[in-house]
């Protein structure tokens, strides 16, 4: 959701917008001539109610920009001055979006802290005026109402929202490393209570309309309408406006009270929060959790708590001042810049750069009902794709279908779906053991075991039964697509689609094109991926593509570090404290030791010494003893159903002892260990760009950030934090590091940390271990000319 936030900011200069707002234009404009020059906001008067319409020109979403801000001030002043008007309704002309937040470009364009603080203060001022408006203002919300949009809405006297799936309310600023800077930190706690407000601000979660009503964030709900005499969306907006006007009139006539009846629990909470001691305890508790979560290194959450505290303990004036100052400080941090950059990257990766495919994929077939196959099926059926899930054995098929059902059923438990919707979605899935129905398939995605000869066999089998237009996509993490396509009769229709496990949680999809892959095939694959809700990077074919290739040398280093006698638990804590979502040893267990071995061997053969380091024998021995990681119950750790605590697998001691290497003391400090891992990753990523595997650094960063995160399993309050972040930004969820590695991606990391410093590190390790650490040419170039940046 954050996603759609800042698109469309690009062009806001055209003045044609008023003409485009079909249907909703009010006829009797007051002060006509001045209005026509407004491009973001216009208003009309119905009876004695002013209907203010927000419509950022040439954009799918409304964003709070300077222009919008000044036009809003103008319009409100006119409304306040008019004798004819007694109340107002604030509504968007765009059916899917109220206001999606502040214009991110406007924030990134600010050069100084003062500039940002001033923006915040201006917004605070007008919203304060709005809050104290003598004429009641009703916010009529349909679609996303986020960030500054929500802050605007809660400054109004009354809020009415449509109970639509698209209608979400939230303050996601924290996900961009900032805080709600237009009075939100002050108003939200008063409106929904301190605990709920902190939860919203610290997690950035989106709140659906019905939940918002329960919380007291909105006062009335309006049901979306079906078709009538106009298209449903259009009529729903009209209806929302009609209802809002009724309420505006009621408020002006004092027939309706803007005060809400609070429930018992709410009253009790509110009462408890009046006791200073309880308040202190709440702040303390929340702060502790945030500190633990962020290791104290991520600045935004702590500042949010601080600002809220200031407002409550020292009064609103101090609160507003603190809010604007901290907002300025946060926006200027590297963390915020990195997250905003990531956000832009993500927006980019949500577009199909190949254009619309000639034929929409409606029938999908998936080969292999394993974890991946079933995961792909799950994200496909719930988007309405008719999906065949084929496996070789009934047991495998059953397991896969059960996985899909469970995934959907979990959503029912969370009330994101009704049981009826689940059933009707599940009926899009056909499980089978043969190739029946493949003649209708528009795309086949194979997710069989990573074995070239097996993949060749299924490719040939499938090509015998599918229609000519059908695309064959291979879900592989390392096998070169061109080798798979070598046996194809129609290599232009073969493409790689590398999903990440678990497919329903991991947002990334790496699409791999070969020399022969046609443009339309690529367009289709991207279209399917976007439909499945993925963030997509498109890379060229090569061993390990991009994500696996960057990970492999780092994994090799993990093995070497373990061989040097570092305890897996210590290694895990070193890597997580550097910003990786899971520890390196745990990562191997999660991926599967056999898979890691497979990949290490394959890529080791191709890239030779550069991918060396650790002894692959370690993995071989683990596999031979059946230590395959989580899936077999044992890896570096022991995994038991229902047991959260992870114990080291003591049987590993003998294996590690037999392969022990002497540590080199000059490169074995904690920091060195962290950097040995990271620099190998970064170096390989830059090399991928140098070799053209990657088209842009942005894709490289998105791939690293979204592909390497694992869903967190944290407890309590922090689990909620984790959940939200997983949805929005999967990997940042775990811990945030001063070095920004994980939430900026390798390229932005180089820009922010400095290419020279990285090259220095690499050279130091090169001296100790040799070629594996030789900086690649592009990285060296960047080190040599400090002005060179991946992001200008």
């Amino acid at each position: 959701m954050v996603a759609c936030r800042a698109i469309g900011i690009l062009s806001r200069f055209s003045a044609f917008r008023i003409l485009r707002s079909r249907g909703y234009i009010c006829r009797n404009f007051t002060g006509s001539s001045a209005l026509l020059t407004r491009t973001h906001i216009n208003y009309g008067v119905k009876g004695d109610v002013a209907v203010v319409r927000i419509n950022s020109p040439n954009s799918k979403v409304n964003t709070l920009s300077k222009e919008l801000h000044s036009e809003f001030t103008e319009v409100m002043n006119e409304i306040w001055a008019s004798d004819q008007i007694r109340s107002a309704v604030l509504i968007s002309s765009k059916p899917g979006c109220f206001i999606a937040g502040a214009d991110i470009n406007m924030l990134s364009a600010c050069k100084t802290l003062q500039e940002v603080t001033q923006l915040s203060q201006e917004a605070q001022r007008i919203l304060e005026k709005l809050e104290k408006s003598p004429k009641p203002v009703v916010a009529a919300i349909n679609g996303s109402c986020l960030g500054g949009g929500l802050e605007l809405a809660i400054s109004c006297q009354y809020r009415i929202a449509t109970k639509d799936r698209k209608t979400v309310l939230g303050v996601p600023e924290v996900l961009l490393g900032a805080l709600p800077g237009a009075g939100g930190t002050q108003r939200l706690p008063k409106m929904v209570g301190v605990p709920a407000a902190l939860d919203m601000m610290l997690t950035g979660r989106n709140i659906r309309a019905d939940r918002a009503k329960k919380m007291g964030l909105v006062d009335q709900l309006v049901e979306p309408l079906g078709p009538g005499l106009k298209p449903p969306e259009e009529r729903t907006m009209e209806y929302l406006e009609e209802v809002a006007i009724t309420f505006a009139k009621g408020l002006a006539d004092k027939k309706i009270s803007p005060k809400r009846n609070k429930g018992l629990v709410e009253k009790l909470t509110a009462y408890a929060m009046t006791i200073p001691f309880v308040r202190q305890q709440v702040y303390k508790k929340v702060e502790e959790k945030v500190r633990k979560q962020t290791k104290g290194l991520y600045p935004a959450p702590l500042k949010i708590i601080d600002v809220v505290k200031t407002g409550i303990e020292q009064g609103s004036d101090a609160g507003y001042l603190s809010e604007s100052q901290k907002f300025g400080e946060l926006v200027m941090t590297k963390e915020s810049k990195a997250l905003m950059g990531l956000y832009h990257g993500q927006v980019l990766c949500k577009k199909n750069k190949f254009g619309a495919p000639q034929k929409d994929v409606k029938h999908l077939a998936i080969l292999g009902a394993g974890l991946m196959g079933a995961g792909i099926a799950q994200v496909s059926v719930d988007k309405g794709l008719k999906t065949i899930l084929k496996d070789a054995t009934l047991t495998g098929l059953d397991r896969g279908q059960q996985q899909v059902f469970k995934g959907l059923n979990d959503k029912v438990k969370k009330k994101a779906l009704t049981s009826f919707e689940r059933d009707s979605i599940f009926s899009n899935l056909t499980g089978q053991l043969d190739y029946q129905g493949f003649e209708k398939a528009d795309m086949v995605i194979e997710a069989v075991f990573e074995d070239l000869s097996l993949k060749h066999r299924v490719l040939k089998e499938v090509e015998a039964v599918i229609p000519d237009h059908c695309i064959f996509a291979s879900n592989t993490s390392a096998l070169p697509i061109s080798e798979i396509a070598a046996v194809s009769k129609r290599p232009e229709k073969v493409i790689g689609m590398h999903y990440f496990s678990p497919v329903d949680k991991m947002q990334l999809l790496e699409i791999i094109t070969t020399e022969k892959t046609s443009r339309d095939t690529s367009a289709s694959a991207v279209a399917v991926g976007l439909k499945q809700g993925k963030v997509i990077i498109v890379v060229k074919d090569g061993p390990g593509f991009y994500t696996t290739r960057c990970l492999a040398p780092m994994m090799s280093e993990v093995i070497r570090i373990l061989q040097e006698g570092v305890d897996p638990k210590k290694l895990d804590s070193l890597t997580t404290s550097f910003g990786f979502p899971v520890g390196a040893a745990t990562l191997v267990d999660e991926v599967g030791v056999d898979v890691a071995k497979h990949v290490a061997e394959d890529l080791g053969k191709v890239f030779g010494e550069r991918f060396g380091g650790g002894n692959p024998e370690l993995l071989t021995q683990m596999v031979s003893k059946g230590f395959l990681g989580r899936k077999s119950g044992k890896g570096f750790y022991i995994y038991q159903e229902g047991v959260k605590r992870k114990d080291l697998n003591s049987d590993m001691d003998s294996i590690l002892a037999s392969l022990k290497l002497p540590p080199k003391s000059e490169v074995s400090s904690d920091e060195d260990i962290q950097f040995r891992l990271v620099t190998r990753f970064v170096n390989e990523a830059v090399m991928c760009l140098q070799e053209g595997i990657l088209a842009t650094p942005a894709e490289g960063d998105i791939g690293a950030v979204f592909g390497l995160g694992f869903p967190p399993c944290l407890g309590g309050w922090s689990r909620r934090l984790g959940k939200q972040l997983t949805l929005a930004w999967s990997p940042c969820c775990i811990s945030f590091n001063e070095l920004l590695f994980l939430y900026s991606g390798p390229f932005r990391f180089v820009d922010l940390y400095g290419a020279q410093k990285i090259v220095d590190r690499l050279k130091k390790y090169e001296a100790a271990y040799g070629k594996q650490f030789t900086p690649c040419q592009l990285l060296a170039d960047h080190a040599n000319s400090p002005n060179k940046k991946f992001y200008q």
Partner: protein, 475 residues
């Protein structure tokens, strides 16, 4: 009225139309047409079809329709159904043994009498050799019962059918919760004391929470009243329009009742109570009174209220339908032919109650008629808002083009021919029984007011709909 409506059970519209195909008998119906002031010439003289048997309604009756919780409240559904059957026997004097088959519609089923048709027939003294079955299709259950009968006759399987419907909203099956049911069933199977004790130890107080019958559409969990309110909003039907329409329905029903036009009603002597002779939900009020009511579903700003919705009703209906030659051979003077009929279905969420809009043009096309050929419209009135939304949909080119795949709008039924003797809003709506009432109203109106064709249409839960052409039997 208020109380009645607040329980949004599924309101099902009932319409029954039969399209019968009969081989023979070109009917000359001209004479009666002249009686009507309509200048319009009918596009068709009759809807008889070659090589298909004509199906006729000999007569039909219903018990008085009562607000639920009144005089019928101690009965069981089969009691009501039996009353309708004995009323029919009395009215038509049909020998019980000639009835080939009995079909009833019902919606909320009493578990003990799930085949309520059979229980009622046995109690009413029908031969135990006459099979009976029960159908359910929400508010068009009775319509389904009739059309099933039409099918059996037209295909030559049967000659004489009794079709009807029943609903008793005064008593509804309230169940134990699933957890409690499971516990009780498991207890049944437990063999030892130990097993029993361990099962009993799993008991929790919340197991005792009862489970009410669904008051909502299963697929969307939305109550029908809520959907009707949204539908009215989608078509921009105002509260005032709805109240006016409801008032019209009550006024017309009152007039019809006073003038004795509701001749299908048979008195019912309720055991242990007084004889009930007429419908008790007809209450013409004033617009001012109605305007005072609060919205019943979408609060606080919705437009559907207790006063402009149909109320929960107890009642039963039954009718005797026969192959035309059989009826004539037995010396009957039939009331009407059941002609072409049509079932439709659409989106159960946003178009739940638009069945009549979809079904009407289709059944007219099938019969080769136009809107102008229809002399009596009998539409099921679940809610004022639903009827008015259907009107607006039928009158909209945009809707016809975008949702019905038609080039032009369906066209509006003329209000002066529409539900002239009241409708479900005022007479009541026992879900399973309304279909027969609609057909009998159409048939009786054609006889009384003159005219040849009647159109019956109804919407039903699940987003389904039905329409049927009723043709007056020549006098």
């Amino acid at each position: 009225m208020t109380t009645i409506l607040t329980y949004p059970f599924k309101k099902l519209p009932i319409t029954s139309k039969w399209a019968l195909r009969f081989a023979i008998r070109p009917l000359s119906c001209s004479s009666q047409l002249r009686a009507a002031p309509a200048v319009q010439t009918k596009t068709k003289k009759t809807l008889a079809k070659p090589n298909i048997r004509n199906v006729v309604v000999v007569d039909g009756v219903r018990t008085p329709f009562l607000l639920s919780g009144t005089s019928y409240k101690d009965l069981m559904p089969h009691d009501l159904a039996r009353a309708a059957l004995t009323g029919l026997l009395h009215r038509t004097s049909v020998p019980k043994e000639v009835v080939d088959y009995i079909i009833f519609g019902t919606v909320i089923q009493e578990v003990k009498t799930s085949n309520v048709a059979r229980e009622a027939a046995l109690g009413a003294g029908f031969s135990d050799k006459t099979p009976a079955h029960t159908v359910t299709m929400a508010c068009i259950s009775a319509n389904q019962a009739m059309t099933t009968g039409v099918g059996l006759i037209a295909s030559g399987q049967c000659d004489v059918i009794v079709a009807g419907g029943v609903e008793l909203m005064s008593d509804i099956p309230i169940r134990h919760s699933r957890k409690m049911r499971k516990l009780m069933l498991d207890l049944n199977k437990a063999k030892s004391m130990g097993q029993r004790l361990s099962l009993i130890s799993k008991f929790r107080l919340n197991f005792l929470a009862p489970e009410l019958p669904a008051v909502a559409e299963f697929s969307t969990s939305e109550t029908m009243g809520h959907s009707a309110d949204r539908l009215a909003a989608a078509f921009a039907v105002s509260r005032l329009e709805q109240d006016e329409y409801a008032l019209r329905s009550h006024s017309l029903a009152k007039k019809a009742q006073d003038e004795g036009l509701l001749s299908d009603v048979v008195p019912f002597r309720v055991p242990g109570k007084d004889t009930v002779t007429k419908d008790n939900g007809i209450r013409p009020s004033s617009l001012e009174q109605m305007a005072k009511l609060k919205p019943a579903f979408i609060k606080p700003y919705g437009t559907v209220t207790a006063a402009n919705s149909s109320f929960l009703t107890d009642g039963a209906s039954a009718m005797l339908i026969m192959a035309e030659e059989k009826a004539l051979a037995m010396g009957y003077k039939p009331k009407a032919y059941l002609r072409d009929f049509m079932y439709v279905s659409q989106d159960p969420k946003d178009q739940l109650l638009l069945g009549p809009t979809y079904a009407t043009p289709k059944v007219l096309e099938k019969a080769g008629l136009t809107m102008n050929d229809i002399d009596a419209f009998e539409f099921h009135e679940a809610f004022s808002g639903q009827i008015l939304a259907n009107f607006k949909a039928m009158d909209s080119d945009w809707f016809a083009e975008n949702y019905m795949g038609r080039k032009t709008k369906v066209g509006l039924p003329p209000l002066e021919k529409f539900n002239n003797w009241g409708g479900s809003l005022s007479l009541g709506h026992p879900f399973g029984a309304t279909g027969c009432r609609l057909v009998m109203a159409a048939a009786n109106r054609l006889r009384k007011e003159g005219g040849q064709y009647g159109l019956v249409a109804a919407c039903a839960a699940g987003g389904q709909g039905h329409a049927m052409i009723v043709e007056a039997y020549p006098k």
